[in-house]
Symmetry: C2
Subunit: 411 residues, 2 copies
């Protein structure tokens, strides 16, 4: 057990960062702002928990107000006592009567939940003096599952099955801890933002390769199909045949257009196509996945909760699970969804609304404790100057964070 | 064309009503407050548009703040010019860059959209001096479809098909306008709120029958299965074999529990079971519908948008579509979903977060212009004292509203 650390006061703050020169732009968001609805848990000790939910600026203040409503569930609690049975507190927050009408389990109230939950996990790790990944990989299976709410998943993932996945992987854990020496690959999302010129993309691809990246992403979803095709070919030609190239359409295509364009994009052999159409449209993704095989779909950036992830996994259309711990209900729901994804044999490759700060820990946990091979993790460097301990990438590989907590502290 | 009426100023207001003695209680919401995030569109004329989104109190202020963000899309517009091509404004609001991250198309931002959209329709009808139903049933098919955004529905409902549904029904419209003389049945939701005693339910059922209702609803979803069964039998015994009885579980059952209980509830021959499990869980509803046939499922109260309705309809599990115009993106998306539902042959029986004030108009439009037979409409009387023109029910039947607008004005 860790020492007694009591949450005395919760503060929400609205933190926004302007991006420059087309950075962060995609087919929907032409002038994005990156923003965090931050939950800060002050304690009776010299430490505080920092939680994040990610937004694109507008309405970030509404998420902050929702955070202030939810934190009453954790105030005056000792963090270790709280986390020993966190699943019940998670459920109480997610099911907060009357408030859940505003979701349920989606939208602003769920983003707020993410921030509060993440702050609790951060504080828990800090109270033990451990980086989050280290805390999580050393916890007994039962203790991990005690932090989860498995409601409405019973027909595909019982509590016993969740414990069994973790217990069975614990037996072979030593086979996978080598990652703590080697780190694991990042992939570069910043070569091809939507508003970048062709020339800039070409330069960025070369820079990425020089920096050790072997995988990178291009934003597509233009109204002009030819622009998408031209730029995809440009990235392939510049990066070479061996590079791993992903394409992200940011939901811009309706079904028949998605089929048409994806079939044209086969020419550049993409590793995946991401968010081709509306993120709620499971049936369209099922049709699309069949029509464009062998192209695979990466989905989940805008999927808000475990129930919809369950349905996507059951449907068979999702080849890469891009759950984001600053979109779903924080680390607790992220782990739940990772266990579900393991059950269905689908790899987890998170979207990083947190710029990878938290997810760099969760990839290690998923790799070591759940047996989700760490394929690679998205890397976006635009906010690194603002984090106290920014993720470190050397030769295209994420290094292992060593500071206590989950690396979400700001400078 | 109507006269020129320019929207000069939009105001959001947070209106909450306390309910007494267990009214409105269900398995989740034991002490509900009924609240509206109201969008008021002031004009250069002596009239204003009133829009509503419904919540259960907590966080209603957040919806109001989101309304204030969206109304910039309609300010300084002439209402008739705006509504002539409202689909494009609807889309601009639903896709507002950066803001859509907070949904997309769900949660607080989408509730806010509902309120703004509804205010526009209300003002449109008032500008013509017509009750909303009269405005809508007399509009040419093209004009109706111009108010809709059919994005992401192309594979099941093209613009041409939407126009065709309305045009074909216009030909036989005269066969269905008799409803304007007879009204149509209401069903009584207030006989069996969750916290009511068995004795009170028994009295309420008798009162409902005396008042001319032949259909009524009981709240179930208790942790104690026997309580649900006992009360369902009580309603059946009191109401008699001919009464139409619906059961509403308010999402309380996981799949296997839902199967078990619904099979026990067959004994009382329910007309439908409503929201048996998590409202996002299409796959679970598909399994459930098969397992409990011939019991039918009524779904949609918490379904936020046309995409998820499309998936529910495609899945075949939904027997009654309970779309609510104060949950989805207002009357525009309600009509879109009604057209979709017509395409799939599924009746629309709205949930009435608006206490039926707006939906009494939409049922008439659906019946006359889309050919959705008006089965009945939910009736909840608890707020009637607060509305300027409360819905009138005589002998269990909704009467036809005659005042200009959509009956959402408060006293």
């Amino acid at each position: 057990m860790g020492k007694t650390v009591v949450i005395k006061r919760a503060i929400a703050s609205d933190v926004r960062f302007k991006l420059n020169d087309g950075a962060g732009s995609d087919a929907i968001h032409t002038t994005p702002i990156y923003a965090y609805a931050v939950c800060k848990l002050q304690t009776d000790q010299n430490m505080e928990g920092i939680g994040l939910a990610f937004t694109l600026g507008m309405g970030n203040n509404l998420v902050c107000q929702a955070i202030e409503h939810l934190t009453k569930h954790v105030e005056n609690r000792d963090i270790n006592e709280l986390m020993a049975n966190f699943g019940s507190t998670y459920k109480a927050m997610a099911e907060d009567p009357n408030y859940r009408w505003l979701g349920p389990h989606k939208g602003i109230v769920h983003l707020a939940l993410a921030s509060v939950v993440n702050a609790c996990f951060d504080l828990w790790a800090k109270s033990r003096g451990l980086p989050l990944w280290k805390l999580l990989i050393d916890l007994p299976a039962q203790d991990i599952v005690n932090t989860l709410d498995l409601s409405y998943l019973e027909e595909v993932l019982t509590r016993d099955e969740a414990v069994a996945i973790l217990s069975n992987n614990a037996i072979t854990k030593h086979e996978r801890t080598g990652i703590l020496n080697t780190g694991y690959p990042g992939y570069d999302t910043s070569v091809g933002w939507f508003n970048y010129t062709d020339e800039k993309i070409k330069i960025n691809v070369s820079k990425a390769i020089d920096a050790g990246f072997t995988a990178m992403k291009l934003k597509v979803g233009s109204k002009d199909i030819k622009r998408d095709i031209r730029r995809a070919k440009l990235v392939r030609e510049t990066a070479g045949d061996k590079a791993t190239i992903m394409l992200d359409a940011n939901q811009q295509w309706h079904l028949s257009k998605a089929i048409e364009i994806c079939n044209e994009l086969k020419a550049i052999n993409p590793y995946w196509v991401e968010e081709p159409t509306h993120p709620d449209d499971i049936a369209a993704h099922v049709t699309l996945a069949k029509e464009i095989a062998p192209i695979k779909l990466a989905l989940g950036e805008h999927v808000p909760n475990k129930i919809i992830f369950k349905n996507f996994l059951q449907s068979g259309c999702m080849s890469f699970n891009q759950v984001d711990a600053v979109r779903v209900g924080g680390i607790s729901e992220f782990i739940t969804i990772s266990l579900l994804s393991k059950k269905f044999g689908i790899p987890v490759v998170p979207h990083v609304g947190d710029m990878g700060q938290i997810h760099q820990h969760l990839v290690l946990f998923n790799h070591i404790s759940i047996g989700h091979k760490a394929l690679f993790l998205e890397h976006i460097p635009h906010l690194r100057q603002y984090f106290k301990y920014p993720a470190r990438i050397i030769d295209g590989r994420y290094q292992i964070p060593q500071q206590p907590g989950m690396s979400a502290d700001f400078v």
